[in-house]
Symmetry: C2
Subunit: 787 residues, 2 copies
């Protein structure tokens, strides 16, 4: 393309092409060049990196979209961010941030000149430098793209409650094969064009993944169009490989799409249309590794899977490859793109948006900048009155629901509750007194609290809930994900990636803290007696505990009031992943609110009111974490008081699981002195735990008293049965805890063998009772803490 | 509907309706009735179960499909199984198995008479009885449906390489919202109509989930049809609530669909058509809780979310509800359906298919019955020759790939390799010498080993890979899932459910053992230096270890020959989940093949050739598990030999991680005597572990020497850097291991402080080297075990 006319469109397209060439040059430069960044001298082997790492294949497409998005941002003064699903195309994101100047603002060493360009190239995928993927280190990103599947959910999460934001989201055709992405297209049924911003998906068909073609690139166009029409979009196709043609087509497509978004929003906001719109999307078909080497060693590269990573390998040792690389790099005509100092030429600098309109500097992509603290009510106002320990009964999550109702009411535009159709069944239904479930599909009179707008998002996809919430949090808002405990494993991998993101941001002062990701896991293992074995899995805690201690928090409030205290604490926190496990069934409330707050503040403590050791020198420590284990422990203490009144029992309750770890390993960890003061170093500890018992050993193995520790927990036994049979199946029941005490307190000796036998007999009797009557015996159902 | 004519179609439909009423009656009976199963007397409160558990809402739809599938099975002598995505409709599956007689064959106590019916009702969701969901206990099922999302992937897995099988798969509209299900529709691009059977998906739109409408039930029909046309299907819609009309329409729809399947298969098999067919599917729209109570307490129930579980609650205490229940149950006219003895009347019994044509007795749904052992080559034939320990170099997975090539060649119809586009990049590419990747989309000349038929299935969805493989294994075949280690977390939840399924089948003698689910995790944490932090996560092992010890096996072969031995062992095993972690990069081969086999057979052992303790009384034990940790450990031993020649070092290598557990906890566990003989009870143990270090503590906390154990592993540190920097970042490198030895062997004392300092200096020097040169220092890259 050469400039032979003053046609302003043509001139603009030439500039766009130049900008694209600059970004492509900078992308390839990052993959290959240690030095000679502007090719001011002939390329020599020592200019080449010793290890060639990076993904070229997707980069030109990312750059192509970037410059065209810049055009519409400027033309329309758009507030836009860019989610790059193919985040392994890290060089593209970095290249554009550098071109826009924001990279140098964040990292002044990487200046916008030749020296900076050389450092920019060298640092990429280089020890001590930056990762090869779009990463927290990349300005303008809220999405890593290392693990594929979540770009579109992140995009929608960013758009919710941001009515003036447009989120451009490029979806790679590889990523499009993942399950989470395949269902994320249905987010169209959860967008409110009045209060939410718009997502503009760009499905990028470059045809190949690592070695395989991409499914969506290999179906007839008619089928492809129907698929996206079926998902609720109006697709616009841009397809080709001639840059001059493609620039015009892409510009037209974006104008059409943004006109349509504007029309949709106007219709909804000014004209009151309640019809679900057909949102525009773009299907962009370009060659993989576009503008890169067409052939290498006689094999086709551009447009094939061979372009996925580094199209020319062995450049240092292969003069032919070196020459081909130089020819390829020079094809972008760097002399036209960068001035004598190595800066982008003025015309290119002028092409980029300015200030916060730059996608690499948009504050939505550094959500902590926009974070407003939640307006939170005093949780004490929702407390269950407790005059005597354990004499009040409450459904813990229902009590939290009352509190959440006020959170929702007081924060109508920056707090959302996500969950897979379980907000009511998890007994948070009070929120529906002040809000609705969001749904943009057809509404019927039989629907329950369903509306175009609301604070609760329910879809039977934990992936979507998690992805939406991540996008929402990363752009500076707050939320809660409530789920059945067992099925939160569905998002193990997403949790891992979010925790990794948070870990890295801790080292980036320019990334401001965001609200924590809060999980409320209810319908937990011990009360899935009705749903059976598939619904019983407390192992998410084990996944969580593998992540960096400074990121993760796990809370097991034993009752409604402690849940209130913990919930309030988590909503105030920043940059953590908080996991709260709480029951929804009627259960004793052990602590008055003041005591609950104090207990949660400590995170762990002796319950003197339940203990019989007079505050010192117990014969045995009964520890517990979780609501059902606490209940069984206290029922065991009740039995011990009756059966072995001389036994000095200490009850320790754990709310904050991290307290068990050594202080050197976790900021919440107890010192050995503190731990030993609670648990002793020489007395048997019977620990009734909510989850898999190994986790307690893992947390405490360094403690002096660890060899005295005996943990009961879920040992993967269960079926459809009664609640008490569930604890019996796993030897966590009160009678078995008494047997454990007898087995482990040496001073009791053989004289209590009859008591042990009585406990074993009770278990058999109660199991027989449930099998005859189909429910737990009344003495189990009606047990309360004695007073 | 009454019989007033001899019209055979009408008569058949009346019979079908009667059969459906029988199944509905039996479904509702299971939810409600303790006694009086045939309503031979008026319903009284004591006939009602004390706890009402179960899911009515989906059951009539499941039953409706069942009887219509029975019709076509008989009419066409079809070999068909039925996957019920809404597996929480357990009563429906059980009801039909009982009607067909197979339930009583498997469980003779549940006889096909009144007494059996009473037991059938009572046992459902009752302590000591059967789970509320379709479960391993349910004859005819390979799919639980407790955790939603996997039905369609299971269905396709069952169909692969079963050319004469038709897999009917009902997909609930709730499940359809999940990611795994949303992408599973694309399985159409991986079915070969010549060699594979057919899947007939039935999308069941009953409109509601627990409390919310289902997305696909609330989009315009045109949009819905486009969506499934876009997925590659030809949808047939059956919609309504009048049974008489619906029976005719469903029968016609099934005839159309099965005619079309037959036509497609004929075209492909006899006429050689290579076009990807548009497979038929059925969209069935019926009310939720169809035929159940229309209203309860003035609120609509049938056709709404209120029908999801138990439409009438409090039946025991509410005479109005009791009367309504009786009216509802009698609406099925049980007297017409069951004879004096309580058996289905003869006309209904005749309606069901016979023998193995019954879906509840089809051997494909009890795959162990059909399992043929793999024809496996001798792995020794592929061994890397090793004359001196560690002097040969090999890429472990490439060596395994040679072996797998022969497995593929020798087992052309019952072994598949699944993976998300990584078979070649994980260096198993030798299999492509004898097979191809399956793809039914458009093929291009640039494609690499892509064909309509093949043994390798690659799709960028770990969910699909896992679901397909599960379906394939559960129907009696064999396979291997190769994946990047970090991203196998994507299927944590699916693994959990499969492990739970296997655990339950262990207690069901009529379920025959199936081939193990084999994971090969490569591109592991230590060699994701190039992809960075998101690709580094060895935590799947922690998830696996929470499942029942009799089900799970974890292998960490340290080199190519041990990988061969482990791989061969896993392919011969049954009813396990085997996890193998192995590297793909060039690495030392430590053991000649005979020694490798012996070492793997023991699973753990002292490497005398690397030890310097003369077989007894070491000063320190260096233990290792995993290829990179083994390399660093041996390099540390090399350093110790040079720097501290008097130190008596023992090297213990662990292949089979379960050996570390106590024998009481895992069948592979070592006795304390054996463990102590390897690790000593009083010497420091420095354990270099592949994964998160806690796992080793969790496995060994009961051992006498546990307090001497110091574990190095991945502590969640990493980025894009060099391989050696990765181990340094996590303190797993040889120099740090030497420092650990110095810190923990008390006899060394302060006199070796200078050596410790030298190690620390080496680390700094090497880090600086990588940051300057972008690669590891030659002495690291070229290190070999001394001879």
């Amino acid at each position: 393309m050469t400039s032979t006319t003053a046609d302003p469109v043509r001139t603009e397209i030439e500039l766009i092409d130049a900008y694209w060439r600059a970004a492509n040059y900078l992308s390839a430069g990052q993959i290959y060049l240690l030095d000679n960044p502007l090719l001011r001298e002939p390329l020599r082997p020592e200019h080449i990196k010793p290890r060639l790492l990076g993904h070229w294949g997707t980069s030109p497409g990312l750059n192509f979209c970037y410059v065209h998005l810049n055009r519409v941002i400027k033309a329309r003064d758009l507030d836009m961010i860019y989610i790059m699903g193919p985040g392994h195309g890290g060089p593209a994101a970095v290249a554009n941030a550098w071109l826009e100047g924001s990279y140098s603002e964040v990292y002044p060493r990487i200046s916008q000149d030749e020296a900076g360009m050389q450092r920019l190239f060298r640092q990429f995928s280089f020890p001590g430098g930056i990762p090869s993927h779009v990463a927290p280190e990349t300005p303008g990103s809220i999405h890593e793209g290392g693990e594929l599947g979540y770009s579109l959910a992140h995009a929608y999460g960013a758009a919710f409650d941001n009515p003036d934001l447009v989120v451009a989201c490029i979806v790679g055709d590889g990523e499009a094969e993942t399950g989470p992405l395949a269902t994320a297209w249905h987010s169209t049924k959860f967008v409110d064009p009045v209060h939410d911003g718009a997502v503009l998906p760009i499905l990028h068909l470059n045809g190949y993944k690592i070695a395989n073609p991409a499914v969506l690139a290999r179906i007839p166009e008619d089928e492809l169009v129907r698929l996206f029409e079926g998902y609720g979009y109006a697709p616009i196709i841009v397809s080709g490989d001639d840059p001059a043609v493609m620039h015009r087509e892409m510009a037209e497509a974006l104008d059409r799409a943004l006109d349509e978004i504007a029309r949709i929003q106007r219709a909804a906001r000014q004209e009151g249309s309640a019809r679900r719109p057909r949102w525009p999307m773009i299907i962009l078909r370009t060659p993989k590794g576009w503008t890169g080497p067409a052939q290498v060693d006689g094999l086709p590269v551009e447009g094939t899977w061979r372009a996925h990573q580094v199209p020319l390998a062995g450049v240092r040792d292969n003069p032919g490859h070196l020459a081909q690389l130089e020819e390829w790099l020079r094809s972008y005509r760097p002399d036209e793109l960068f001035d004598g100092e190595g800066r982008p030429v003025a015309a290119l600098r002028r092409l980029a948006p300015a200030g916060e309109r730059r996608m690499s500097a948009n504050p939505h992509a550094n959500g902590g900048l926009l974070l407003r603290p939640l307006d939170l009510p005093d949780p004490r106002a929702y407390a269950v009155p407790v005059k005597e320990h354990g004499r009040a009964t409450a459904e813990a999550t229902r009590v939290l629901g009352d509190y959440l109702r006020e959170v929702v009411a007081a924060n109508p535009s920056n707090f959302r509750i996500m969950g897979p159709d379980e907000t009511a069944s998890n007994r948070l239904g009070a929120v529906f007194e002040v809000t609705d479930r969001v749904f943009a599909g057809e509404l019927l009179p039989t629907d329950d609290h369903l509306a175009r707008a609301g604070r609760v998002m329910e879809v039977l996809s934990e992936h979507l809930c998690q992805g939406w919430l991540e996008g929402y949090l990363l752009t500076g808002r707050h939320g809660l994900f409530n789920s059945y405990e067992a099925f939160i494993h569905i998002v193990d991998a997403m949790f891992n990636q979010h925790a990794k993101w948070l870990k890295v941001t801790r080292g980036l002062p320019w990334r401001r803290p965001i609200a924590s990701l809060n999980y409320l896991l209810s319908s937990h293992v011990w009360r899935q007696d009705h749903n059976g074995f598939t619904h019983q899995d407390p192992g998410f805690l084990d996944v969580v505990m593998n992540k960096k201690p400074e990121i993760v928090r796990v809370y097991l409030p034993p009752d409604a009031n402690t849940l209130l205290s913990v919930g309030d604490h988590c909503l105030r926190s920043r940059d953590y992943v908080n996991v709260i496990v709480a029951g929804k069934q009627p259960a004793p409330v052990w602590l008055p609110m003041d005591a609950a707050v104090a207990h949660c503040t400590r995170g762990i403590g002796i319950w003197e009111w339940a203990s019989t050791d007079g505050g010192a020198d117990p014969d045995v420590v009964l520890a517990c974490a979780g609501d059902v284990p606490t209940l069984e422990t206290l029922a065991a203490v009740d039995l011990l008081r009756q059966l072995l009144p001389e036994l000095r029992v200490r009850v320790v309750n754990v709310v904050d699981l991290m307290r068990l770890q050594p202080v050197e390993e976790h900021p919440h960890g107890l010192s050995d002195t503190e731990f030993d003061a609670l648990f002793t170093t020489d007395k048997p500890i019977i620990f009734a735990f909510h989850g898999y018992p190994y986790l307690i050993h893992r947390l405490t193995y360094r403690r002096a008293g660890h060899h005295n520790l005996h943990v009961r927990g879920y040992k993967e036994e269960g079926t459809t049965t009664t609640p008490f049979d569930m604890v019996m199946l796993n030897d966590l029941d009160r009678f078995h805890l008494v047997m454990d005490v007898i087995d482990r307190v040496p001073t009791l000796g053989g004289r209590v063998a009859h008591i042990r036998q009585r406990m074993a007999d009770e278990r058999l009797r109660l199991r027989a009772y449930t099998r005859e009557h189909g429910q737990d015996a009344p003495e189990i159902q009606n047990w309360t803490w004695p007073h």
